[in-house]
Subunit: 236 residues, 2 copies
């Protein structure tokens, strides 16, 4: 084995962001149109390069906020992608991140720049390079995450109604869910706090607004060290 750094090639390190958005109705993905060759005019994820004074996480945040203007967005690393010829221009590995954002808080100041556009998650155009692989992995990861913990708080406004939360889950799973069972399970998680206000935008009766209780949430998360066990140990 060879430990001398200088004998090894360096490599471009890119970041690509899979940006999920939810507008109280549909789950969407933010894409940009490339305005340079190769593949000019094709759609792509938002990306950029790692600079020397920033960590991977910081670079992903920077790229996300430089392209959308948004800060403090929930962002999580998905995976490193490193096929030799994944980028035809130069040897580049890319670390993909996914973000969840709430379009109702933010939609005004979003997207006009850089030819960015929101696409419904089930009507995506062809993407460059290995970006489709990234997206499908991110979708799987989001579903997985949603099945283990109450995701969705990042995708919703500070207060939200249960029908809205249900729509988010339905969008993530691309299916419909039973209202009563959904409510029971979400409420039994004990991380929601009911307010006494009602949201009347979408119905005449109005739906109660809930908010997310961060303390209860992290309490729940740490209960099993974050992971459900396949088996419960015997009581002894």
């Amino acid at each position: 084995m060879d430990y001398s750094y200088s004998e090894h090639k360096q490599c471009y390190v890119a970041l690509d962001c899979i940006i999920f958005g939810f507008d109280r109705k549909d789950l969407k993905l933010l894409l940009i149109k490339r305005n340079f060759e190769p593949r000019k005019g094709d759609w792509s994820l938002m990306g950029g390069f790692l600079e020397s004074d920033e960590s991977l996480d910081e670079a992903a945040s920077r790229i996300l906020s430089s392209l959308t203007g948004l800060k403090d967005i929930y962002l999580e690393q998905l995976k490193g992608f490193g096929k030799v010829d994944r980028d035809p221009v130069a040897r580049t590995i890319s670390v993909a991140y996914y973000a969840l954002i709430n379009l109702n808080d933010h939609d005004k100041n979003l997207l006009p720049e850089f030819g960015a556009k929101w696409f419904p998650i089930d009507e995506l155009p062809n993407l460059i390079f290995d970006h489709e692989e990234m997206v499908s992995l991110a979708k799987a990861r989001l579903r997985h995450k949603a099945s283990n913990q109450p995701v969705g708080f990042e995708l919703l406004p500070d207060t939200f109604t249960l029908p809205e939360l249900q729509q988010l889950y339905e969008a993530i799973y691309e299916t419909s869910l039973d209202k009563r069972n959904f409510r029971r399970r979400i409420l039994s998680m004990n991380v929601l706090e009911k307010t006494d206000k009602k949201q009347k935008k979408y119905s005449k009766k109005g739906a109660y607004l809930y908010k997310f209780d961060e303390d209860k949430y992290s309490e729940q998360k740490n209960k099993n060290g974050g992971t459900k066990m396949m088996f419960k140990p015997p009581k002894v």
Copy 2:
């Protein structure tokens, strides 16, 4: 945004391998002693650099096999690590992989070189750089994986007994499990095939050897697209 590659810094890309091994009894981790500065004499994960003609996956395999002599080992990407000062020598990002290997098939031809040593998973020494973070993440990931799918086939010989499989799960979860419940659940997964041979090494009575049915396994895995849903959709 700036798309010209040459304006961006390149960066060293390292790979680090978290190598889990199981010897029919304990779960272990393979570490090497650094024989160069900085941190000479300290323990570290096995690592190396990405070369220009190989993908990340290929590089991880190469490093694993160059240090252990083993090929075709189960290897999965864990995460990219990219803090600015994680490596004091030069700016380097590292993509960590974890491997599962079965020490009974392989132990003879392993480890003597490079000052490598197997450590019980609960008695690890201090590690260099961010390697401890990598290990604890890998442990969590292994547990998580084991809770969703019958892991362990990579860590066991071609045939194995149910008590051996149970010991593996107990090692992964660092707990003890009820024999009857364990057997029922594992067998109900329908991926094991009983042989008519018995393993008598560890008891007078002897335990039946089982083997893993790859076809049934991948069938099971693809059932829910790999992910359990939080909710089952209504029948309609």
